[in-house]
């Protein structure tokens, strides 16, 4: 019996359906991998921003003699008063924290700390040694582009109020 030289229509259809199933499955997997990659990148960026904010904020609070806390809707405004410099103003607004300080010659230093998702900020003044506590209150349903909502809990002492004793002659 002579063997056919080509492939039948049924064979072609079977191969094409098998190929389409494999391609669909792999495209879904690739899409998922890309989504996870984005989440991981956002998580790393959040962590780097949190480190930067922690260092900067702690330094500023240590330099401050007093702090004024105001809340308007979702935004917290913290004004750190310094004895020998212009006040530093922090604004905590959901997914962004901004820092502003006037410098000499009318210049203004601005810094922004962006996070990948919304955060509910809680700011309070603590007694004992006078301290400022800044933290995020996150719930499981918080929207974020990262793998998990950002978590921050910083407590720093207002050290600018301390007066060094006058030097004895």
């Amino acid at each position: 019996m002579k063997k056919p030289a080509g492939v039948s229509l049924i064979e072609t259809l079977v191969i094409m359906s098998a190929a389409s199933v494999i391609l669909t499955l792999s495209s879904v997997t690739i899409h998922r991998v890309m989504q996870i990659h984005k989440k991981v990148e956002a998580t790393h960026a959040d962590e780097a921003t949190a480190w930067r904010l922690s260092t900067r904020l702690r330094h500023d609070v240590h330099q401050a003699s007093d702090a004024l806390i105001e809340q308007q809707a979702d935004t917290w405004r913290v004004t750190l008063l310094h004895k020998a410099a212009e006040p530093t103003i922090y604004r905590f607004q959901q997914e962004t924290v901004s820092r502003e300080q006037k410098l000499a010659e009318g210049k203004v230093a601005r810094d922004v700390f962006p996070f990948a998702g919304n955060a509910t900020w809680e700011i309070e003044e603590l007694t004992g040694p006078p301290r400022l506590r800044i933290r995020t209150a996150t719930s499981p349903g918080t929207l974020t582009r990262a793998a998990a909502p950002v978590k921050i809990d910083i407590t720093a002492r207002l050290l600018g109020a301390r007066q060094a004793p006058e030097a004895t002659p």
Binding site: R58, P129, R131, T155, A156, P165, E166
Partner: protein, 135 residues
């Protein structure tokens, strides 16, 4: 002289199937620990930052306390927010002042997570009246 064409096969042998399965299992086996480790590293990275902040927060509070309250405060440290972590502290009186050492330890469940230690100093407060009183 006509060369006989090789016989075309319509199936695969058991050996071929076994080899392909073994290769697939090896690849999956190699990938899974990498994925799990990556998740652990992400969690570790966050825990390390939170632990450092926790130690800084506590140390900031402790070094601001009067010297007489320091020992009690170090002995009764609050529980850290990280799950399973333990915060311990010790004080040492030296010439310059009191050295406060805080250490945060995690339970090791097969994964090596080194303890984090932060050291601060509590200096005796000198008030202007003390300065005036000195001859």
């Amino acid at each position: 002289m006509a060369i006989p064409s090789p016989r075309k096969r319509n199936a695969v042998t058991v050996i071929e199937t076994l080899i392909s399965f073994t290769l697939l299992i090896t690849i999956f086996g190699a990938c899974m620990p990498v994925v799990v480790r990556h998740h652990q590293l992400l969690a570790d990275e966050r825990d390390y930052r939170l632990a450092t902040d926790e130690l800084s927060n506590q140390l900031d509070r402790l070094v601001g306390l009067p010297a007489m309250e320091l020992d009690d405060a170090v002995a009764n440290l609050p529980a850290p927010t990280m799950k399973g972590a333990k915060l311990v502290g010790e004080t040492e009186e030296l010439e310059l002042g009191v050295r406060v050492t805080l250490t945060l330890r995690w339970p090791e469940h097969g994964v090596r997570r080194p303890a984090i230690t932060l050291v601060g100093w509590s200096f005796p407060t000198v008030t202007p009246s003390d300065v005036e009183a000195t001859p």
